[in-house]
């Protein structure tokens, strides 16, 4: 969602710890091993949350008339009578095999429910990220090239205003413009990607746009700031003096050096996009993970809640790792 949430404090992003220079191989190992450690931490958090639950699931499912013997039997069935560390290890290894347990209420395997909903979010988030990069990149580069000009001021003003808006207002504004006034696009609903790209796009473009604008604003801001800094450097002046064209200087030299902070923002933006998807799915009535989480939350369905949380974290970690690899590959600092 858009919030700080969506507006990482510049201080936090701009100053990485001055680590001693590492050799490339070590940095690659770090990039690939850290997510595994973080996953273990996150899974502990997710499991711990379930263990904190004050409600006894068996009592909740069986209702008022359950005898203590019934409850004990059901606890045994779900494995809830074992010590917590044993439960955690068992839960984690089952999860790694794709078994996230069964819903307390419907007894449908959690993994089935999640993997029915996940493609909606992945497709939507993918489109949102693409839009964020295109819009944010174009706006940031444009603003930096015309520094102080009208375009620059417009981009800065719009980017600041977007950060103060509750995320759902954006979605509803898009519905009013494109569905109610222009009657060009449907106001809600979803068609899977398998039914054809055009059909899917008709339903996905508005929610994806609503999700992407906030990140796009952050990307534009970061890219503008760092690109303005790079364009003032001597090597850029040198390249211009040597007679290289604007495009060559921009894409071949300045952008490669300036793209780091914007990529970091994109990495932070992935959980924001997945979090914002909850609100967007609600507005556009999409059958995604968030609807599942909301429904599970209303029923206190602990396995389903843990499952959605763990899957979301995994998706975020994969995306963050991809962004880190991109930073290592794209920026000259990362190649050294």
């Amino acid at each position: 969602m858009t919030t700080l949430l969506s507006r990482p404090a510049p201080v936090a992003v701009a100053k990485p710890d001055p680590a001693p220079p590492k050799r490339r191989s070590r940095r690659w190992i770090g990039t690939l091993a850290t997510p595994v450690v973080v996953f273990v931490f996150s899974s502990l958090l997710t499991f711990g949350l379930g263990a904190l639950s004050p409600s006894n699931p068996a009592a909740a499912v069986l209702g008022e008339t359950a005898t203590p013997a019934d409850i004990a039997r059901m606890n045994h069935e779900f494995g809830l009578d074992r010590p917590l560390p044993v439960q955690y290890v068992d839960w984690l290894f089952s999860a790694l095999r794709g078994d996230l347990g069964r819903s307390y209420f419907t007894t449908i395997p959690v993994a089935d429910s999640i993997f029915a909903a996940l493609p909606v979010d992945l497709a939507l988030a993918g489109l949102a990220i693409l839009l964020a990069v295109l819009i944010g990149g174009a706006a940031g580069i444009g603003a930096a090239l015309r520094q102080g000009g009208r375009l620059d001021r417009t981009v800065t003003a719009v980017a600041s205003a977007l950060g103060t808006l509750p995320p759902f207002v954006l979605g509803i504004g898009l519905i009013i413009i494109f569905s109610v006034l222009l009657k060009a696009l449907p106001a809600g609903g979803y068609v899977p990607l398998e039914n054809g790209l055009g059909q899917w796009l008709r339903f996905a473009i508005l929610p994806a746009l609503a999700l992407s604008l906030d990140i796009a604003a952050s990307i534009a801001r970061q890219l503008r700031t760092s690109l303005v800094g790079q364009l003032g450097e001597n090597y850029v002046t040198g390249a211009v003096v040597r007679g290289l064209g604007t495009r060559r200087v921009l894409f071949g030299h300045a952008l490669r050096n300036a793209i780091g902070p914007a990529l970091t923002v994109l990495g932070i933006g992935v959980p924001m996009i997945l979090g914002g998807a909850v609100v967007t799915e609600k507005i556009f009535n999409l059958p995604g993970l968030a609807q599942l989480a909301l429904q599970a939350s209303g029923q206190h369905d602990v396995p389903l809640i843990q499952g959605t949380l763990l899957v979301t974290v995994t998706v975020v970690l994969i995306c963050n790792t991809l962004v880190n690899i991109a930073v290592l590959r794209l920026t000259p600092q990362g190649k050294r």
């Binding site: 919030t3 936090a12 931490f41 996150s42 004050p54 103060t164 759902f168 509803i172 959980p271 959605t308």
Partner: protein, 270 residues
């Protein structure tokens, strides 16, 4: 620029006056409201602005102006609650990661990485689903997710100080670690943390409104800014202008917090 001179900036003054009004409403909102925010009148449902109802009425005929005034307290307290949790869980571990050795540092950094992978709303939904659907539970969840922000900001501000000459000198004179943190580090870290806290409060206001929009945390009919906005959005076809008022209220408050953060940022507006 020091914090005091920053307050003389016009933008900072405007921001402070807006925040003063919001604070006043948060404390006194319910008592200055012209109508009972919960009083329903089906005959008056979805009316436009009038002298009696300056912002019109909602779908149950309740006075929107009174509901916004009465909802200010809940909304602001909830936002501050999450920022408080974030400060408590972020600042001290941030300093601890610098001064308590490598093992503590490694564990804290990985824990922060793990918390940062959690999307705000999904986590808040999960927490309220497991611990009960209350605004406090939801805001503690949001606060936990604010902690990495404060952790990183504190750590970044403190990092340069660990190698500052006067800190080394104090260590050589035999000052205790606690004394160094209190007298030499704390004052340098506070301005940065204050900037972040102001921004985080703005973020928290948006998070509260998103959560109430989803029906999480606040039980109807209790009024909040996000709740009023969400209920107005349901009747767009009848009253397309109505959501503008609560949305503008949220935007102005968040923008004031951001402007204040920019003004007090060490080294001037960034």
């Amino acid at each position: 620029m020091s914090t005091l001179t920053a307050v003389r900036l016009p933008s900072a003054r405007l921001a402070l006056s807006v925040l003063a009004v919001v604070t006043f409403l948060a404390v006194a909102g319910g008592t200055v409201a012209p109508h009972d925010p919960l009083l329903q009148d089906p005959d008056l449902a979805l009316r436009g602005p009038s002298l009696i109802h300056p912002f019109g009425t909602d779908y149950l005929g309740r006075d929107v102006f009174s509901r916004l005034l009465a909802g200010t307290g809940t909304t602001v307290v909830a936002a501050l609650e999450s920022v408080g949790v974030g400060l408590a869980l972020g600042v001290l571990p941030g300093l601890a990661s610098l001064w308590l050795g490598r093992t503590v540092e490694w564990v804290l950094l990985r824990a922060v990485d793990a918390v940062m992978t959690l999307p705000f709303i999904v986590f808040a939904i999960a927490v309220t689903g497991i611990l009960g659907n209350g605004l406090s539970q939801a805001m503690v969840a949001i606060g936990v997710l604010f902690a990495p922000l404060f952790f990183r900001v504190t750590r970044a501000a403190g990092l340069s100080l660990t190698r500052a000459h006067y800190v080394e000198a104090a260590e050589l004179f035999g000052a205790s670690r606690w004394r160094i943190l209190r007298t030499h580090v704390w004052g340098k870290v506070v301005p940065t943390v204050a900037v972040t806290a102001a921004q985080a409060t703005g973020g928290a206001l948006l998070a509260v409104s998103s959560l109430t929009f989803l029906g999480i945390g606040v039980q109807p009919p209790a009024p909040t800014w996000g709740g009023v906005l969400a209920s107005e959005l349901g009747f767009l076809s009848q009253q397309p202008w109505a959501p503008v008022i609560p949305a503008a209220l949220i935007m102005v408050a968040v923008a004031a917090l951001n402007a204040l953060a920019d003004a007090i940022r060490p080294g001037g507006a960034a």
